[in-house]
Amino acid sequence: MKKVLNQMKYEEKGRIVEIKTAGVRGRLMSMNIRIGKEVKMLAKQPLKGPVAIEVENAQTSLSQEMAKQIVVEV
């Protein structure tokens, strides 16, 4: 089932299948967040705040606008 990253629930795991905008893809690339990578949802901040995810035991936090660009297969 496909969903956007910030729709993932707490502790839910998924695999990245698509990153929409090139700019976001480039920035995430250098942190090894890319298509095919398994991602786990750690925390979502209220009031459209950033989301925190774990990719290969590295924790990263990105804004909700960025998270909306990432499509995940759950």
Partner: protein, 429 residues
Amino acid sequence: MHKLKLTPEERWDYLDKLAEEVVTLKPRRLSLKDAIGDLTIRPLTGIPIALGILFSVWMFFSTFAGFFTDGFMVPLFDEHYLPWIQDIFPKEPSWLYALLVGTPGADNCFEAFGVLTTGLFVPFGVVLWAIIPLYLSVALLEDIGYLPRLAVLVDNILHRIGLHGFAIVPTILSFGCNIPGVTAARILETKKERFMMMTILAIFIPCGAQLGIMEETIAGEYGNWLMFAIIGYLLLGYFVVGWILNKILPGRSPEILIDIPPYQRPIWKNLTMKTWIRVKCFLVHAVPFVILGSLLVNILYIVGIENGNLTLVSFEEGDRSIMGRLSIALEPILAGWFGVPKETILPLVTAFLRKDLAVAQLSAIPMSMYQLFTSVVLISIYFPCIATFAVLWKELGFRGLLKSIAILIISTFTFGGLLHGLWMLMGVA
């Protein structure tokens, strides 16, 4: 053989293969550190923890400052240094005495207002002991890796005013001293973000020096709640003006994308080195301005202008000195618009040179609690101390500085006047 060139995807594919070869992950139960990590990042538990941490930093600051300032510095300065300097000075009060030692027969360095008394007591007796605990706490939070988590927690609020989570770092630093706070704002990505951050920091965030003096004067007399109310009002201004600036300034505000590092044990050597670098920056940059400040203010107090030539005015007939004339001239604005006694012109002028000195002088002027509230807010907002002013000039350039000052003056009149209006509504003005 031409040079090897890889695309990012190729490079990652090789690295993933290498990792499969070399790294094996042993299943293990959640370690305590991971558990703490998750707790501090999830909003439900993270926000109370963040408030707890900030409150304990505050307690550490006030106990550390109180212990050294009241425990050692006040007795040292008031019972030993002041009598000694008052004795060695020539007996009959001359203008030099008034300039260097201050009001004759003063019983404490706080209200003597001489260059060698208050001018030395404020930086070394009070401010130094206020900024050491604050810098130590910030260095500790940095080293254990808590600051990125704090940045994530506050990003949603700061995002509303066009900044992202990491702007919390310069903000906290500014509570130590505006100089490192403003310089730390340089790490922000866009020009718009830097300008906004530096402006609202310089206007609304009271520096550690000022907090130290507030702790001494206001908290002592009226209790901590008044101080928190003042800081709350200033933070309100910080967000309101930030929000407005975000709307009117061109340019985009960036999205947050930060790495959350694992928690680490701090090393004492690193903490002390970082704190020492920042304290040294205070001693080198700020202290000369404090001494210059008290010198200039005293000169304004002692020198009068009598139909064109400079005359010496004794403390009693203060109104004939330049300071006196200034306060009479500005009274309509001070009393009318802001509803504060005209004597507050003295702390306001001092505030341009040193905020902490200004708040100290304020406590010597009889006024109601509400007027005190307005005056302290005015002193914080009115002008950054001259040291911060110089840093702003360096960071923003002259044109940027002028824009910043315009915003500052507008904020002063609106937020000062607002308070006066509020007191009138409450019937206490």
